[in-house]
Amino acid sequence: MLATEDLTIRFGGHAAVDGVSCAFQPGTLTSIVGPNGAGKTTYFNLISGQLAATSGKVRLNGEDITGYAAPRRSRLGLGRAFQLTNLFPNLSALENVRLAVQVKSGKGLDLFSRTLGHRELIDRAMTHLAAVSLAERAQAIAATLPHGDQRKLEVAILLALEPDIFMFDEPTAGMSIDEVPTVLDIIAAIKARGDKTILLVEHKMDVVRSLSDRIVVLHQGKLVADGKPAEVINSDIVREAYLGGAAPRDAHG
């Protein structure tokens, strides 16, 4: 189980994430929503280790991982797909995914065997590429892929990490309409397995509503609402956070 306890980060005087305590259960998909600048991506960065918390804790299965660097958290099963496409641009699509498969295999420090000799890694990478329907583009250089395919490749890398916790930061941003279902189907399939924890930052509320078991609302760095999708979406506090913009009321009010 992933949990944050009173998690806070300040930039100068400004608390971008402000005392957020929240636990995420395996088998559930939690959407994190909130207006621009609410701290959603920063919250993700604190969990996956791209930023170091000013105070508070991140726990994974009870273990305090707050002080761990990003690579260690990834190896512990925290997988993250990024909002802005973040690939290895001059490597092939297959190589992008293979590198992620390789992390789990522990072969990264293998200096003297041939990369192409590890068929099993390549085969697994191909499976993940096929899952995002990119198998035919395996040899294409990542930078030359169209934007939508790059987003899919981003997801394939996450799949290849085989994490326990999947963190999607706006996975469909910038995709054309017909591409969106591929990614949503993948997320639904992960959810269907029932043992994975999924965190999703997404602005398209139709997507959020149809996929989520639970919605957490951040506003000005604070957690202001938490509950079932129907309740949260129609609550006053959320309407105000999105449309009103004044200081939030008490989170439990």
């Binding site: 990003a70 690579p71 990834s74 190589e95 590198l99 003297f112």
Partner: protein
């Protein structure tokens, strides 16, 4: 078979393949094809610099690290053997001691610099290595008791490598089978093996992580690779191979001094080799080294001719002075960085596709 030796990294260009075969075979038969002390010396230098440039490419081309301290490790390897041969006498045990000591010092120093400063930005790292390397070069020249100072060390090689040693009576194709020939083939074989080892390293799972780090260190961290560890290991391997190249040079030339091993000029040379040959291709380092050592030794003659022809024209004659060969390669280098960032090898490969 060929795939395994080349670690699946095929030339992927007919002309490149031809060039590589020419180099490998040419160097193998060089002593018989081009007899004479100068050409043998050029051939051995080419071997050594191929190794040195290839190890630098591991850093620059594959990992995206700009280090100006690479000649420092080259020098450490050379001085290791030179000092051991001076102190312990012209024995093979001395050679072994020197090589091992050089390796240990080089790797330890590379690890230290790496862990201390590989977290910082490219520019910062480049500046720091430049400073460290220059301090080291001065240090070497200031410890005459150990290093022979500016003059360096002159020492005797093990008997089997000297010209006076006779492998067999008589000659083969008119070439005396003496110790120099043994020495040359020792250098040749060691260089070949080292380049193939480097080729394997860059085509290994480890090498693929290095390229990932070069492409996007942030994402490499995010999927679970600790970039500092990988960069430091790459630096250590590069340093170790550079030190071995230095040892080979020391074993070949029976003299070691700051100018031939530690100077910034050598650093400039290997930078030119890798960039002109093609960064991140390994074969580029091979081509670049051959080209540059040739230029160093024979472009001068060409320039000499041009210089003669222009004797009357004051400034132009200066530009074509035989000693100004580096000027022209410097211009080629800048043009490469701008217009052919993948160097000769990249251009050859692109021709095909």
């Amino acid at each position: 078979m060929v795939r395994a030796i080349l670690s699946d990294d095929l030339p992927r260009s007919r002309w490149l393949a031809v060039a590589l075969v020419l180099i490998v075979v040419g160097l193998a038969v060089a002593p018989f094809l081009f007899p004479g002390a100068k050409s043998l010396n050029v051939a051995a230098k080419i071997c050594v610099f191929i190794v040195l440039a290839a190890s630098f490419d591991l850093l620059l081309g594959y990992t995206g690290i700009v280090s100006f301290a690479h000649t420092m490790f080259f020098g450490i390897g050379a001085y290791g053997v030179a000092i051991a041969l001076t102190r312990l006498g012209a024995e093979w045990t001395a050679v072994a001691v020197g090589i091992v000591a050089g390796l240990i010092v080089a790797v330890a120093l590379a690890a230290l610099i790496g862990l201390f400063s590989l977290r910082v930005r490219t520019i910062f790292f480049a500046m720091i290595t430049l400073a460290v390397a220059s301090a080291f070069a001065i240090l070497a020249s200031q410890l005459p008791a150990l290093t022979g100072g500016e003059d360096g060390l002159n020492y005797r090689l093990p008997a089997a490598l000297r010209a006076s040693f006779s492998l067999a009576d008589g000659t083969l194709f008119g070439v005396r089978l003496n110790g120099r020939l043994v020495d040359y083939y020792l250098v040749y074989a060691a260089s070949l093996v080292l380049v193939l080892v480097l080729l394997r390293v860059v085509n290994s799972p480890f090498g693929s992580v290095l390229m990932a780090i070069r492409e996007n260190p942030f994402r490499a961290e995010a999927i679970g690779y600790r970039t500092v560890v990988y960069r430091t290991i790459a630096s250590c391997i590069a340093a170790a191979v550079a030190a071995l190249a230095g040892s080979l040079l020391a074993l070949w030339s029976s003299q070691t001094n700051p100018d031939t091993t530690l100077s910034f000029d050598i650093m400039v040379d290997i930078l030119l080799m890798v960039v002109i040959g093609g960064m991140g291709t390994m074969y580029g380092a091979v081509l670049g080294a051959v080209l540059l050592v040739f230029a160093q030794n024979y472009l001068q003659d060409l320039l000499g001719i041009a210089n003669q022809a222009l004797a009357g024209v004051p400034l132009l004659a200066g530009l074509f002075h035989p000693d100004r060969w580096l000027l022209w390669l410097g211009v080629a280098f800048i043009l490469c960085v701008y217009f052919f960032p993948t160097g000769i090898v990249g251009s050859l490969r692109n021709r095909r596709s």
